[in-house]
């Protein structure tokens, strides 16, 4: 069976100065994004722990105790999930930033490959979360349609 030529031939991409500078600037901005996003998560976690109004937003609306308890449990789960996802995304993005910059500065291809692996994993995690959100959205619409039909 004939394969396309690019599938068989090994790669030969000698990265030039221009490409190196683009990867380097991307890595620098990615490092800044990683620090900004983890800072936001830490501050929102502190606000959640120290501010009772953030935790019990439903109290003013006149909901009963059981509803408030369910909402609080849901809120705890949401915060825990957000912190875990943010920590994983921060690790991946920051590792990409550090490894890619180190690889480019020291002319070390292994570090660059490691950095690109972390960037690919960062987008993989986001894609999986997006897929879960899509599935949840689809199920919600399906349940609404079934509810409307009965």
């Amino acid at each position: 069976m004939n394969q396309p030529e690019h599938d068989k031939s090994p790669s030969f991409i000698p990265l030039d100065i221009y490409t190196k500078s683009k990867i380097s600037s991307t890595a620098k901005v990615a490092g800044t994004v990683a620090i900004l996003s983890i800072s936001g998560t830490i501050i929102s976690l502190i606000a959640y722990i120290t501010k009772p109004s953030v935790r019990t937003g439903l109290a003013k609306e006149g909901f009963d105790d059981a509803t408030l308890q369910m909402a609080a449990q849901g809120s705890v789960l949401y915060i825990a999930f957000s912190v875990i996802v943010s920590a994983v995304l921060f690790y991946m993005l920051y590792s990409f930033s550090k490894s890619a910059q180190k690889g480019l500065a020291a002319d070390d291809r292994r570090s660059l490959n490691k950095g690109l692996f972390h960037l690919a994993t960062y987008f993989k995690v986001i894609a999986i979360i997006f897929l879960c959100a899509l599935a949840f959205m689809f199920l919600s619409v399906l349940m609404m349609m079934l509810g409307a039909a009965t």
Partner: protein, 141 residues
Amino acid sequence: MTEQDPHSIFETDPDPELDRQLLALSRWTRLITVIGFGMGAFVVAMMLVSGAVILKSLESILPVKAEGTYGALIVVFFIFFFITATVLYFLYKAASNIKAGVLQKNTTLLAEGFSNFHRFFIAMAILSGISLLANISTLFQ
């Protein structure tokens, strides 16, 4: 004659590992854009079918009641929609350019792909900065 570093970026030996990482990066990025554009199409369809009802119900649950809230909601929706579309477009261009750069062994396309990633991360830095400021204001309220 100087000896060449075996792991140098500028070496002329084939490097399937770099190809693999770049193609994986392109693949996952493209998946995100496909899902994002799909969700965008779904939202547009929902807004076309029952946009007025959705915005009216959003207006009624807002804590602040003021004249012109409905119009403000429409403006906010369009701003949010176009920012998301722009960010997804940067990702789509990055994925396409990197894949084409690897398959055609073209460093210019590869650089263009990373240039689009750079734009994407600048947009993310601005959004993360805004989110951080909002969280700080919540903390000191």
